[in-house]
């Protein structure tokens, strides 16, 4: 190895001497080296630079790559007229010569931003696409092929060390995606159409979540998810949440608030059904509280799901205010909504208030007064008998004093 380095150094020295003679001689344009010339040295798995870095390029791998028909010097332009053996350090390859648009897009990305800030773990073209082995993203062996893509992003976004040194803020996305409905569809079921990283984040122009131009910016979430879930997007847009979002109300929930960004679960699982209640309740606190006072809310509170939760009555995406006739809980539709679970539900049955508040005398007068009465009854019984029992107890515990007269006590 050290012998090889010495040889390389000698060669470099010799070429420098020759260079000085050339400079003072008549300038002659050296002929561009062919791929065979390059591969003569580089098609050797053990080839290394002076610093030990591998400089091997397998001829077969390159030939099979999408760039196979191209000349080495098309990318390594600084070697087009170099003397050989060439210098150890080459100019960085500039992909924008051919791929101007993707490189320009990359320039606006969080990866480029991090890299220009000196973060060397941020991805460059080659980190995702490969170097001499670049293949089309349609190619099943390409790291950018849909089925391979999450693992490719996961090389960094699933690596605890890079997450730390690279300052990646949301670190556990790879594992979460892996277990999500999208991850399983892609990785287990092999569904190419399932959402993968780039479908939401973009590929070259990956922007921060806080960037309004990002696909994962809050307000853009329905449009991003709607690329695949178009039907749901339309329902959401027509509902109260979607309309408010369009008006610029920042408080309304978007897709990811209920479904989360990465660990998106099946909606028919118990865990999801129970968790989403808290999500609705994070804004509709009073409704969650009164729901908990009903049989439906008590059952879900115990972790069972065979009862109605928020979306069973209000619908999930096309939620409307009760006064809107399109609402599933409007006067016109309520009985039918109850009827989904209670087939015999009548108008009168639907008069049951699933959010009754026993503290609200105006909304539920009979309930309010019943609650007051029960409170009095319980307090009355326990105060009286509590007193009765305690007095009796103390009387039985303390022995009678020696009787002054025969009459007293037992």
């Amino acid at each position: 190895m050290s012998a090889r380095v010495t040889v390389v150094r000698l060669a470099v020295f010799a070429s420098l001497i020759r260079l000085t003679t050339v400079v003072f001689a008549v300038p002659v344009v050296a002929p561009s080296p062919g791929n065979d010339d390059c591969l003569a040295c580089h098609d050797d798995a053990t080839a290394t630079a002076s610093n030990g870095r591998s400089i091997a390029v397998a001829a077969k791998v390159f030939a099979d790559s999408i760039h196979g028909p191209m000349a080495c010097t098309d990318c390594h332009a600084d070697l087009a007229h170099a003397e050989f053996p060439h210098a150890d350090t080459l100019s960085p390859v500039n992909c924008s010569g051919c791929h101007a648009d993707p490189v320009a897009a990359y320039g606006k990305s969080v990866h480029a931003e991090a890299r220009s800030a000196g973060n060397t773990s941020a991805a460059r073209c080659v980190d995702c696409h490969g170097m001499h082995d670049i293949r089309s993203s349609q190619d099943k062996t390409s790291p950018t092929y849909p089925l391979n893509l999450p693992n490719m992003c996961g090389k960094c976004h699933g690596d605890a060390k890079i997450i730390k040194t690279g300052g990646i803020k949301v670190g556990d996305v790879f594992a979460k995606y892996h277990d999500s409905i999208h991850g399983k569809a892609l990785e287990k079921s092999g569904l190419l159409v399932s959402a993968k990283c780039t479908d939401c984040h973009g590929n070259h122009e990956i922007r921060r979540k806080s960037d309004p131009q990002s696909g994962v910016f809050r307000a853009n979430s329905p449009a991003t998810c709607g690329k695949c879930h178009g039907g749901i997007q339309a329902l959401y847009a027509s509902g109260i949440h979607g309309s408010k979002l369009a008006e610029g109300d920042p408080r309304v929930p978007v897709c990811a608030d209920c479904h989360t960004a990465h660990e998106i679960r099946r909606i028919d699982g118990d865990a999801w059904k129970l968790d989403v209640l808290a999500e609705c309740g994070s804004c509709h606190a009073q409704s969650l509280k009164t729901y908990r006072d009903t049989f439906h809310g008590q059952v879900t509170s115990l972790g069972f799901t065979r009862v109605a939760s928020c979306s069973d009555c209000h619908r999930a995406h096309d939620v409307y205010p009760k006064a809107d006739s399109r609402s599933s809980v409007s006067d016109a539709q309520r009985a039918a909504t109850c009827g989904k679970c209670h087939p015999a539900a009548s108008e009168s049955f639907a008069g049951y208030d699933p959010h009754a508040d026993k503290h609200d005398a105006e909304r539920n007068p009979p309930l309010y007064w019943t609650a007051r009465f029960m409170q009095l009854l319980l307090a009355g019984v326990f105060v009286f008998f509590g007193l009765h029992t305690s007095l009796w107890f103390q009387r039985l515990l303390r022995k009678d004093p020696p009787p002054p007269s025969k009459k007293a006590g037992e």
Binding site: F295, S301, S346, S348, G351, D353, A371, M374, F382, F393
Partner: protein, 271 residues
């Protein structure tokens, strides 16, 4: 020592069935009422899940309604067939009467050492309260329970808000019944120092002549005077019966106190 009969076999069986169906109802209804308590979810799972717990709850409800109806039937039989009007008024009646008020205030006076212990008759005022509490509870809890069991039927002629009220009443009244039985009734009947750990009369059916004379002197004197006492004399309960009564009673008291502890835990740990 002579033993005097106080409860006949049917009444003793009635009490045992009432006891266990009541405990079953309390246990299977508890997780829903205290659903935010830490033990609630686990208890629901121990009971076989809420659906199964719900079936058990309805089963116990039917048993309790059955035994209650049998008791009412027996009363009606005594009243209309045997023409025993003594159950309507007088010392052998459970109906509250002026003497109950007098005995209660005398009892309070005795608590404060300001008077002699009242000379109770066959039934004391607190026994009558417990007895009628069951009637009240049966109608209130049972009625609201039926509303909640068959809402689609009752909604044919009742407004929807009635089910909101029914759910509230069912829970609050059950809480009242459970907490009352497992504290006040347990103390009055069993745990008070002069009965501790329990009074087995409801299992054996009889008390000693001494105990009767001491605790219900008016009844004793009355029975001696009119000669009924001799007809009430029975053999002392067989040791096996006493032992069984103790075991059954202990199970019920322990289970009841456990349920009461769960309630206290839920109420106090709730912010």
């Amino acid at each position: 020592m002579r033993h005097i009969r106080r409860f006949d076999t049917v009444n003793r069986i009635t009490h045992v069935v009432l006891m266990f169906s009541f405990l079953g109802l309390a246990l299977t209804g508890l997780p829903l009422l205290f659903n935010d308590a830490r033990w609630a979810s686990r208890l629901a799972r121990i009971l076989g899940g809420l659906q199964f717990a719900g079936r058990l709850h309805r089963f116990f409800a039917i048993v309790l309604i059955g035994v209650f109806s049998a008791h009412v039937g027996r009363l009606l039989h005594r009243l209309f067939i045997k023409k025993d009007y003594g159950i309507l008024w007088g010392p052998e009646s459970m109906v509250p009467q002026p003497r109950d008020l007098k005995e209660m205030s005398a009892h309070f006076a005795w608590f404060f050492r300001r008077g002699p212990k009242p000379r109770f008759d066959h039934f004391t005022y607190w026994e009558k309260f417990d007895y009628w509490a069951v009637f009240w509870g049966m109608f209130i809890i049972g009625g609201s329970g039926f509303l909640l069991w068959f809402p689609w039927f009752f909604s044919n002629f009742l407004p929807g808000w009635i089910f909101n009220v029914a759910l509230l009443i069912h829970g609050e009244e059950a809480l009242l019944a459970v907490a009352f039985i497992f504290t006040i009734h347990f103390f009055n009947g069993h745990l008070r120092p002069d009965k501790f750990p329990m009074d087995t009369v409801i299992f054996t059916g009889s008390v000693t002549e001494h105990e009767l004379k001491h605790e219900r002197p008016d009844a004793y004197d009355r029975w001696v005077k009119d000669g009924t006492l001799e007809s009430l004399v029975v053999d002392p309960p067989r040791p096996r019966l006493v032992r069984r009564g103790r075991i059954v009673g202990t199970i019920a008291i322990v289970l009841g106190l456990f349920i009461f502890a769960l309630i206290i835990y839920a109420v106090t740990s709730h912010s």
